[in-house]
Assembly symmetry: D2
Homo-oligomer: 315 residues x 4
């Protein structure tokens, strides 16, 4: 056995497409408590209060909702070089781009399903304005005390036509570790959870029931506590935000969750893992069967139908 790859430090930021840009911005700022940090063209950059980098979400106006690029930070310049070599060898590379505010040179590529990614080393740290300066110096930005108070980006759950291809990409190219999976009775993989960190998952691929490429199931943000998620449910109720399902606890990964739809139609998860980590370097992937999935979530909630029918872009 060769040593495991540990070249990606974390998932840094994600681009979301929305047909109603200003409504989506208002949702992210007022309800989720991100800060608008800068605008460029049709894109608005937003920052979560615990992100040491300059932005967490790039919202881009576009005719259809969906997911744009996901950015990964390499652990070192050498790690970046190794990943670029692997990506190019796999024929997934698109080349270097130095045009994204907040990062230095970014190597752009795509997963086998066509979701755009970028990987980089050089980054711009978040610099709080006077108004956003935190009371404690070991925190990026002032605690907002507003809406859902989301802390940081947690994970991305993509839809993919070919889950095994996604899995080969995650394990072999990204160097992510397998965490949990759903395997259908016919042996097909329904979904896979992988991690690049000590969190129990960072990147998730679920089988796309439409077969369309490059779609999104949801993007998830971590709150500090489960109570924050209960409060977020009240905040969403008052703000007229569509609550799809939850709050409840997943059996898979045991995440406490709330699923809502941002105004553009993209599904957003607010999640809390408690003190859960995946520390074992030789973790054995947990497999869930169809029968186990049929039991519903951890405390018995049946999985809502739209969970299997709604993705973005709509097809």
């Amino acid at each position: 056995m060769s040593e495991p790859i540990r070249d990606v430090a974390h998932v840094s930021a994600v681009e979301i497409f929305t047909p109603v840009l200003e409504e989506s911005v208002a949702f992210f700022v007022q309800v989720l408590a991100l800060e608008e940090v800068y605008r460029r063209g049709d894109s608005v950059y937003l920052h979560t209060w615990d992100d040491y980098e300059s932005f967490t979400v790039k919202l881009t106006g576009r005719s259809d909702a969906g997911i744009g690029r996901t950015w990964l930070r390499a652990r070192s310049p050498e790690a970046l070089a190794r990943r670029v070599t692997a990506i190019e060898a796999a024929g997934l590379g698109h080349g270097w781009n130095s045009d994204e505010p907040g990062y230095g040179d970014v190597y752009e590529f795509a997963d086998p399903d066509g979701h755009p990614y970028g990987i980089y080393w050089e980054t711009q740290r978040y610099q709080p304005s006077d108004a956003m300066r935190p009371a404690l110096k070991n925190q990026a930005s002032k605690f907002p005390g507003r809406g859902a108070n989301i802390r940081r980006l947690d994970h991305v759950n993509y839809l993919a036509a070919d889950v095994p291809a996604a899995e080969a990409f995650l394990a072999g190219i990204i160097g992510a570790r397998a965490s949990e999976q759903i395997v259908n009775d016919d042996g097909t993989k329904q979904g896979v959870w992988y991690t690049v960190s000590d969190k129990s998952y960072d990147l998730v691929y679920t089988r796309d029931w439409t077969g369309a490429p490059g779609r999104l199931h949801h993007i998830a943000f971590a709150t500090d506590t489960r109570e924050d998620i209960l409060r977020a449910a009240d905040v969403c109720l008052e703000a007229g935000v569509h609550i799809e399902t939850g709050p409840h606890k997943h059996a898979i990964q045991q995440t406490f969750f709330l699923y809502i739809w941002e105004p553009g139609g993209n599904r957003i998860e607010l999640c809390n893992a408690g003190a859960r980590l995946l520390l074992a370097p030789d973790h054995q992937m947990i497999t869930w069967t169809q029968a186990e999935r049929a039991k519903g979530q951890a405390w018995g909630l049946k999985t809502i139908e739209s969970f299997h029918t709604h993705g973005t872009p709509l097809v």
Copy 2:
């Protein structure tokens, strides 16, 4: 700059000495909710419900309270070999031992202050009995629903006569990353926080006011929520456990904490970090000054006097 070392996966377990073994066992089982897994000689092995390995705490009867060995799991056999080479080169090695239940071969060594450590790759996974089998297969053991319900070992805070020596050991030999520190006005280091994982700290060294070697400030266990810590305070109150300080929130590391003394006299912290992680691979160490420390904890609680006078063993 050479690439950072990432050879230690996590802090696995710790040995605690107690002059009142059975009282300490009762405290760990009834109040903290660990499970007694096996006994050998004067030692009782205890397991926290989220630990994938066979034990988390080894309680050993001895005339004086204090800390015994700390075990670290290497990320791979190669990582173990690299660390052993580094330890031996530093003249800190004591040799291999295969006598510890729960582990394969352990390489034993000590930090410059004399605290015993062990590092290993081969381990025995926790196997729940029927009574301890969890409802969800992605959990090591049944959720206890008892007392403080602590989830896992979080960190160890040692006392050391020479903090800079400890720091050289952490950075150079263990390959831990610097997280936060207290630097006194005279330039001496009062305390340093280091991490081997994506948690913001795992190993802490604080200057020993007595100058005695090998002492312990505290061992910390993670609860799943802050509410668990508030509940633990009630549980400790009812059980007659000495509550030293808290619940409150540290300014350093922003940990929500409760400090209690187990019956043997060792200080135990129950801690919760919320969703806080240290994801930046190039994190810049946060420095706290004496003046900042004088402000007290995050919400203004003054640091209790015994925090500066109580360590184990007593000297």
Copy 3:
């Protein structure tokens, strides 16, 4: 307008029938954290930690599950005399009984649907044994630190063939205040929530779909926090207790809830109202329509089918 009646201080205790007495006792003690206080014949008396009286639940072995007597404490001897006069005038009285341990003379009666009640003034205060003595003198019993840690009885939700008759009983005989109600599109009352205290409800009647008399929808116990209810869900999952629905928040009364079935088949709610009270002495009853009910619970959870089909005894 005459002055409102304020003669009932609170709902004190309730009798539950179970075909599996010892299993039900184990559930109440291990999962809900009540204390067994005494046994008499086929009945086991149980106490919640915040109840100033000697028992909270009387569990009685019987062939069918269901609800026995509900006890109400009068505010004063004069208040008791007034209520007895009103009950007798309504032809609902059964006479005095001095045979119940824990109370002095109890006047027994029934609501129009046949649910047995008792009202009394003289009571026996809970006297903790040494093992159950609390650390703080303003608390009845030691905080258990076990399972769901339920604090006290909260309310009873009866099924009744004739809801308007129940309502006349609540308002005119008991002297309870109207809080909230569901009125169907055809003008029939689906359910009514009434209070005798400053809590927003204590006694609830829901239309029995079977038309059978004297049945129970559920008995509810208050936990101290919402977090206790989330923890209770984990505890029930591990203990194999049937979780019917929740945790979630009701739109009606805004109660945070979890519904489970005790081993005998009776539905138990764990509930938390936050800091909600009904302080207005001239509160105007809130009316919910069928259309509003169809929206589901506060955060959108659809009402589970068994909620409309399961009551005890089964008919």
Copy 4:
């Protein structure tokens, strides 16, 4: 024994004097999450989201901080008449006033220490604007999702030169029930807790160490959960609000608390009682001794010195 008086339904609202009116308004609106409802002269009226009446706090600009009038709502017109008779018989009455927006006729009086009170029956219900309309019809106003999200006024803690005189007033004139007290070793009463509701206290009098009349120790607002109080501590830290002590749990009344100072200098408590109520109609007052008080708060926090030296107005 005559029947207990139950003529006061609840403490409705309180007037606070501040030398920095606009700063105090900003604090109440931004940090505590009240809504400004109207202004008249030097007074700004503010509303908490769960108050069914039109205002909760009247902030009045004045050279010195301190407390103005406390308003009590009678349970009925007859109850109001009875209380006015009792107040006049005690020589504490000042006469009727119909000039307060939000109330009908108010009978004004003072306690023996000179704190102004008003009692009334007719009131104006809170009418939400479109922007403040709640999603659920059983809630007065929209949940703010801002800062400390305080729910309602909880209690007032006055300072008084003569505590026994205050107690005679509470029991005999107001008709409040005795809940808990501190009795010093020399037999003097240090503080008394009384309730007019099923909450365990509403009105508190503490001995004024200065002997000056009419002063305030603190005004308390209820949050929905303990977590809200922990969050409020973060919010106050970021906003530069002075945190005096807490969060912690009182031994007396077991309230989870945070004490802060509003910009005018008045002490504000954020408090949460969990599911605690005082339901016993014949509750026996709990007495705390000096020795018990010396143990500190429930979990051992020492009472902060300023708690014994800071009141408003400053003298």
